[in-house]
């Protein structure tokens, strides 16, 4: 396939068409922050962290859902982008109850790492302190809505890779929640296969196995793409 020319951060590249800006940047080792993106799953452009500037377009575009086009001029590191990334990260922290000190994923959390990357030292917005449920009804796993950032990686991995579609989303705005089946306890789910893929897909400590204590959670989000790739192999 013919390659097309693009300019990213003032450097010229020849890249494959039909790829997203994010895919192209990842291949070229250009850092783009993401949260809702997980290789192997459909991209939905929900978290708004991968925003890039494209010359000729006034608004910022999400790199994960925008395809490259010939002669596109893309900027990934401008002050405008950094400003929005910081705001977005602060809102993640202010929206639910992220208490790192008591969290299973403390030290290995994608949200913490994101905070360090955008140089977040304090949250300028008032915390909402919503009363969130902790669903411990499943025999092995816990769903803690306090730590959920609504990336919906669990929803997509359950639907697209496991094919069970136990997880879904209800409500809008601050009331938005991940639900099991039709908003029933996870332990009573008739669709959940207890495969644990949602646990590995989750970027924070929202879904975790009961046999784990503070700071001990080990996740392997890369396994999702590994599975997807292996299924493509022809026997």
């Amino acid at each position: 396939m013919n390659k097309i020319p693009v300019i990213i951060d003032d450097k010229s590249f020849e890249v494959d068409p039909h790829k997203t800006i994010l895919e192209v940047c990842r291949e070229l080792d250009i850092e783009i922050l993401t949260m809702c993106h997980l290789k192997g799953l459909t991209d939905i452009g929900a978290c708004r962290l991968c925003l890039v500037e494209v010359e000729g377009i006034n608004k910022l575009l999400s790199a994960c859902t925008t395809k490259v086009a010939a002669n596109m001029v893309i900027k990934t590191q401008t002050e405008r982008i950094k400003k929005y990334q910081r705001i977005t990260t602060e809102l993640f922290f202010a929206d639910r109850n992220h208490v790192c000190a008591v969290c299973v994923s403390n030290g290995k959390c994608e949200l913490q790492n994101l905070g360090y990357k955008v140089e977040l030292d304090r949250i300028r917005y008032p915390h909402l302190f919503p009363q969130c449920e902790v669903d411990t009804s499943h025999p092995w796993y816990v769903m803690d809505h306090n730590r959920c950032i609504m990336c919906t990686r669990c929803v997509r991995v359950c639907n697209e890779v496991e094919g069970a579609h136990n997880w879904d989303v209800m409500n809008r705005g601050h009331q938005v929640r991940i639900i099991s089946d039709f908003n029933t306890p996870w332990g009573e789910s008739s669709t959940c296969t207890s495969c644990g893929k949602c646990l590995h897909a989750c970027p924070t400590g929202a879904i975790w196995p009961k046999a784990i204590v503070q700071g001990q959670l080990e996740k392997n989000p890369g396994m999702v793409n590994e599975l997807v790739e292996r299924r493509k192999m022809k026997l």
Binding site: F93, N97, V99, C100, A101, V102, C103, N106, G107, Q112, G115, Y116, E119, L120, D121, R122, I123, P126, H127, F129, P130, Q131, C132, G215
Partner: protein
Amino acid sequence: MSKKKLATVWLGGCSGCHMSLLDIDERILDVAKLADIVKSPVVDGKEFPEVDIALVEGSVTSDEHHREILHIRKHAKTLIAFGDCAVMTNVTGMRNYFNLQEVFDTAYVNAVSNDKEGHIPDHPSLLRLNDKVVPLQDVVNVDFVIPGCPPDADTIFYVLFEFLNDRIPNLSKAKKLKYG
């Protein structure tokens, strides 16, 4: 250069940040060369004096903390929010998801360790808990923050040493940013 005055304060927190401060070990001598610690939970003295730097641990949980932090703001040139509780309420703020009466009942009346006679303490000399726990920045202007639960001793020393030498520390550049 005259010696600076340093204070450390313990509001609504567990004192873990102060423990971490003590973990700077012998480097306290480097701090002592540049500053006198004039007020701290480990220093005798009633009134909060005029200081150059105040390290304030914990969040604002009660009327007393509220008065205290306003007083500290007036008398400190540089106010540093010290630890996750001071910066974003952390564990102290976990009672914010419930109403205050529920919290009191859980702690004093219905706690498993209580006998049936449990009652909520109500002496006039006790502080009054506020409805919601808030970080320092919601009450006063905070000049610098050191997140972490607790912040590492290295981080604390780095920040103190920079301020005592009239430089502004940068946690991000120094790769010392940490929550939890």
